[in-house]
């Protein structure tokens, strides 16, 4: 009897490892940026062409940076949740509009001039927000995806929870779900709000 226990034990260990491995989403790559200061940037604001936004503007507040684009199908899925959340006035949400024109496979962005791309970005992003609702305090335009690279964006939507000192404390990869909002983002945001 005893001689069967060792192989059985090894087999169970293997089963546990496989079960953990198979139940994890390989697309959720832990971000090295959690616990690090949010990368700095200076980008034009969607609603006001002559204004620029930088993360330093949000010092002293706990806020969300939500990466979105009108061509992003999963963004549409999470959007009603963001709109409802913004109505409750939970946290300020800043939208990072990511490669609005270049990310859309249907458009050949190389043929557009910089001005035309900016105009098209504004038009498409603005139309999408007026159609689906605007949960954002403001949205900024990352037309070439450079800021996205600094934030390690590899799939839209992604959301960063940033504390009062400007440190990234949590990253949601993929759409925010009611569960991730209730169980992860909100409790952590409440805790961060008490920090000085």
């Amino acid at each position: 009897m005893k001689r069967f226990l060792i192989p059985l034990g090894l087999f169970l260990v293997l089963v546990v490892f496989l079960a953990i491995g198979l139940n994890r989403d390989p697309h959720e790559v832990p971000s090295p940026l959690v616990g690090k200061p949010a990368p700095d940037f200076k980008l034009t604001v969607l609603a006001s062409p002559d204004k620029q936004f930088t993360p330093a503007d949000m010092r002293g507040q706990v806020w969300l940076l939500n990466v979105w684009a009108s061509w992003c199908v999963s963004c549409r899925a999470e959007h009603p949740l963001l709109v409802a959340f913004a109505k409750q006035g939970g946290l300020p949400i800043v939208g990072l509009n990511y490669k609005e024109v270049r990310g859309d496979g249907g458009i050949d962005a190389k043929k557009l001039s910089a001005d035309d791309e900016l105009a098209l970005t504004r038009q498409r992003a603005g139309a999408w927000l007026s159609q689906h609702g605007n949960p954002y305090t403001l949205s900024v335009l990352d037309m070439d995806g450079r800021v996205g690279i600094d934030y390690g964006v590899y799939g839209v939507p992604e959301t960063y929870l940033i504390d009062k000192k400007g440190v990234i404390r949590f990253k949601q990869i993929g759409p925010i779900t009611p569960e991730s909002l209730e169980k992860k983002i909100l409790p952590l945001a409440r805790q961060l709000a008490t920090e000085s």
């Binding site: 790559v29 490669k99 995806g145 690279i149 390690g152 799939g155």
Partner: protein, 163 residues
């Protein structure tokens, strides 16, 4: 008549062979072969995060395009290969590296297989030793030998050639 047809055919052939050359010229990629060679060498060691089983060099994902452009820019800025790798690891984590670095969290990954191998070798040696001591050398008494030969029929004879 035939002559003009031949000329038309020849010119058509010239055009047909000329067209791919022009298409190759249109891509602005290989402006500096040294930079491109380094780009390929670096990006073959990096994983594309969108299609995770492809290298950054092979992937056609749009993010891979952006990252290759970024790596190309860093090469132009005079960054070393190690600095470029660090740049990407700082943003995307060790996951972008096809060769994970050796550090405490990856010890199990790097050395685990050798630990299992060593364990298996130790187990095998122990098992063989135990078995050797348990099995007494097989010897037959004279009686047993006679019984065995009787069962086999003929007493053992020197082998003969089958001529």
């Amino acid at each position: 008549m035939i002559r003009s047809a031949l000329i038309a055919l020849a010119s058509a052939l010239t055009l047909a062979t000329a067209a791919p050359l022009e298409a190759a010229e249109a891509t602005p990629m290989a402006d500096n072969p040294v930079v491109e060679a380094r780009l390929i060498a670096i990006s073959e060691e990096l994983r594309c995060l969108v299609c995770q089983n492809e290298s950054l060099a092979a992937s056609r994902a749009e993010l891979a395009d952006d990252l290759r452009r970024e790596v190309r820019k860093l090469i132009h800025d005079g960054k070393t290969d190690a600095e470029i790798r660090d740049y990407l690891v700082a943003r995307y984590g060790d996951f972008v590296l096809y060769r994970p670095p050796v550090k405490p969290t990856t010890w199990l990954l790097w050395f685990g297989p050798f630990v299992i191998l060593a364990g298996a070798v130790v187990g095998l040696i122990a098992y063989l030793r135990r078995r050797a001591s348990r099995l007494a050398p097989a010897t037959l008494s004279d009686e047993q030998k006679a019984a065995a030969q009787a069962l086999l029929g003929t007493p053992p004879a020197p082998p003969k050639d089958n001529a």
